[in-house]
């Protein structure tokens, strides 16, 4: 019973309910979490026989000096810095528009959200076809406007940009849904009062809707950044199982895959996973720290 104190019998009973979840979690979340850190410190490790010859920082030192890993970090950072601001800004604009136009909102929301339910690999293949130099849809459209065709997937200057377009296209829907949920939670009376006081639409947004939407915006920024830090499927499908021309689209996740699965350097891959984790964790903490600070400045709005 809910209000009685725990005793041995009630604990045993609860254990029956908890065992399935705890067992799987221990074996496939807790243990691998520990093992991920352990493995990143193994050197000369044979995972099949579980032979460890030495421990140390060698894997991280390797990453520190590996130009390919530097390229992966650089590409990932560019991708996040390109995709995140544009996706968040666009989805905010679209959500505000949909919020204004109720009779179209249902249908349009359905359409904008479609990429979320779509297999990334499958739609990545479609984008590969759209980006093609000869016969691709995008270049055909560019041609109609009298622009030169671009070899999106084979020109290292454009390959990362092509990946960004796919990531933006995919990320919009989720953010729009979350922004709409955030907008729904805002009490419309604040905006009404401000309107009566003569505030125009821009003033209403910057002084009322914007600040009230801030918690959701922070969440969306973190979500979008984290998602784009971990891009892999899109690259694999877009370049049919490679990392683009001259590794132009080598992301950190793709580096991990390549080291682990293709080159069989398990411990280096594990170390790169830890670095990725540190990036993502650091970014999340930083964003929330900035948010707390800002919230403090605004006088405890939430």
């Amino acid at each position: 019973m809910i209000n009685s104190r725990p005793n041995l019998k009630s604990t045993l009973k609860a254990a029956l309910y908890l065992t399935p979840l705890l067992l799987i979690t221990l074996l496939f979340t807790v243990w691998p979490l520990i093992n991920a850190f352990l493995m990143s410190s193994y050197t000369k490790y044979n995972y099949y026989t579980n032979q460890i010859s030495a421990l140390g920082w060698a894997n991280f030192i390797y990453l520190w000096h590996d130009p390919t890993f530097h390229l992966a970090v650089r590409n990932t950072l560019i991708l996040v810095l390109l995709v995140m601001p544009i996706t968040v800004a666009l989805s905010l604009l679209i959500a505000l528009g949909l919020n204004h136009n109720q009779h179209l909102a249902g249908l349009l929301r359905t359409i904008y959200f479609l990429p979320f339910v779509t297999s990334t690999v499958a739609i990545g293949l479609v984008w590969n076809w759209i980006f093609r130099l000869d016969g691709g849809l995008l270049n055909a459209i560019l041609g109609k406007f009298g622009l030169h065709a671009i070899d999106w997937l084979n020109d290292p200057h454009y390959a990362l940009f092509a990946l960004s377009i796919v990531c933006m296209w995919q990320g919009l829907g989720v953010n729009i849904i979350l922004f709409l949920a955030g907008l729904n939670h805002i009490d419309q009376r604040y905006a009404r009062v401000a309107e009566l006081d003569g505030a125009n639409a821009w003033q209403r947004f910057t002084t009322i809707t914007g600040p009230l939407l801030l918690p959701m915006t922070v969440l969306i920024i973190v979500n979008t950044s984290v998602t784009n830090f971990k891009v892999f499927d899109q690259v694999y499908a877009l370049f049919h199982g490679s990392a683009g021309p001259g590794n132009a689209d080598l992301t950190m996740m793709y580096y991990l895959y390549q080291k682990f699965y293709v080159e069989n350097q398990v411990t280096i891959a594990a170390a790169s996973g830890i670095v990725l984790f540190a990036f993502v964790g650091g970014l999340t903490l930083l964003t929330y720290a900035v948010y707390r600070h800002r919230q403090h400045q605004l006088g405890g709005w939430s």
């Binding site: 979840l21 093992n35 297999s119 076809w129 984290v226 892999f232 682990f260």
Partner: protein, 276 residues
């Protein structure tokens, strides 16, 4: 006047955006119905002259897509049902039963939510290698039978349930087990449907894990099979697009039917749009 113009402009932009979002889907459908010979030449007709439904038949004959489809169905359903079971049981224990260490254990599980699944990829592979599970259905399913996200979401929902129902059921002589399956689960059906749907999407579209733990053609799920098909077919785009439609379509139909649950799940779950 000015306002009207602004409204019109806004609607136009929204519609244009929606058209751009739809464009890849339309292009995929149109290409899948083009005759296979037009590949790699600049399409003079964007609309196919004669609809080549035969492409779809060819896809099913060219690769074991029926097998991939069956594997995807199996993996998705077992994973989702398994996660529902483990999460419902645990969420019930945490909200309705008393036991030692309840708060500490809940705190630990909550903390695990911060662990990115990608970090666990390699150590989990190693665990499975030691269990000799690589290239088995177990590898595709067992590691995913528990989901902290689903557990936390259901915990939230079960906690909000008025306890008077629980006491009333007890007075009427219902056991905890009966209360769970005859009262708690039916009354929380919308949120349970929502989390299940999110998981179905995640499992159906999962790519990196099945790619790594299987290399046997008979065990491939649809996304992995699709990529294998791509390396066989090269750039026969009409055929590729027909295969792509087969992978994407089931979930789109499911989405059209159950959209409101999906949005419920997206906005109430602490996962906020992450799947898997």
């Amino acid at each position: 006047m000015m306002n009207r113009l602004l409204n019109g402009l806004r609607t136009f932009c929204l519609l244009l955006g929606a058209a751009l979002m739809l464009l890849p889907f339309i292009w995929m459908l149109l290409t899948s119905l083009q005759p296979a010979s037009t590949t790699l030449s600049v399409p003079t007709n964007w609309l196919p002259q004669a609809l080549q439904w035969g492409n779809y038949l060819n896809v099913w004959q060219a690769a074991p897509f029926a097998r991939y489809c069956l594997n995807s169905l199996l993996v998705t359903s077992v994973t989702t049902i398994g996660q529902l079971l483990t999460s419902i049981l645990a969420a019930f224990a945490f909200t309705h039963l008393q036991f030692y260490g309840r708060r500490v254990l809940f705190g630990l599980l909550l903390a695990l939510m911060l662990v990115p699944g990608e970090l666990l990829l390699i150590p989990n592979f190693v665990t499975l290698a030691h269990l000799h599970w690589i290239n088995t259905y177990a590898a595709l399913v067992v590691p995913w039978l528990a989901s902290i996200f689903m557990f936390i979401t259901l915990h939230q929902a079960f906690r909000a349930q008025p306890k008077t129902l629980y006491y009333a059921a007890h007075i009427d002589g219902a056991s905890d087990w009966q209360y769970l399956w005859h009262v708690l689960v039916p009354t929380n059906r919308p949120i349970i449907t929502a989390v299940a749907l999110l998981q179905v999407i995640g499992s159906w579209n999962a790519f990196m894990w099945p790619l790594i733990v299987t290399n046997d053609d008979r065990l491939r799920t649809l996304p992995v099979g699709l990529m294998a098909f791509t390396s066989d077919q090269g750039t026969n785009y009409p055929l590729l697009m027909a295969a792509t439609v087969c992978v994407i379509l089931p979930l789109i139909l499911l989405y059209f039917g159950l959209q409101k649950y999906l949005i419920l799940g997206m906005t109430t779950s602490p996962a906020k749009g992450k799947s898997l």
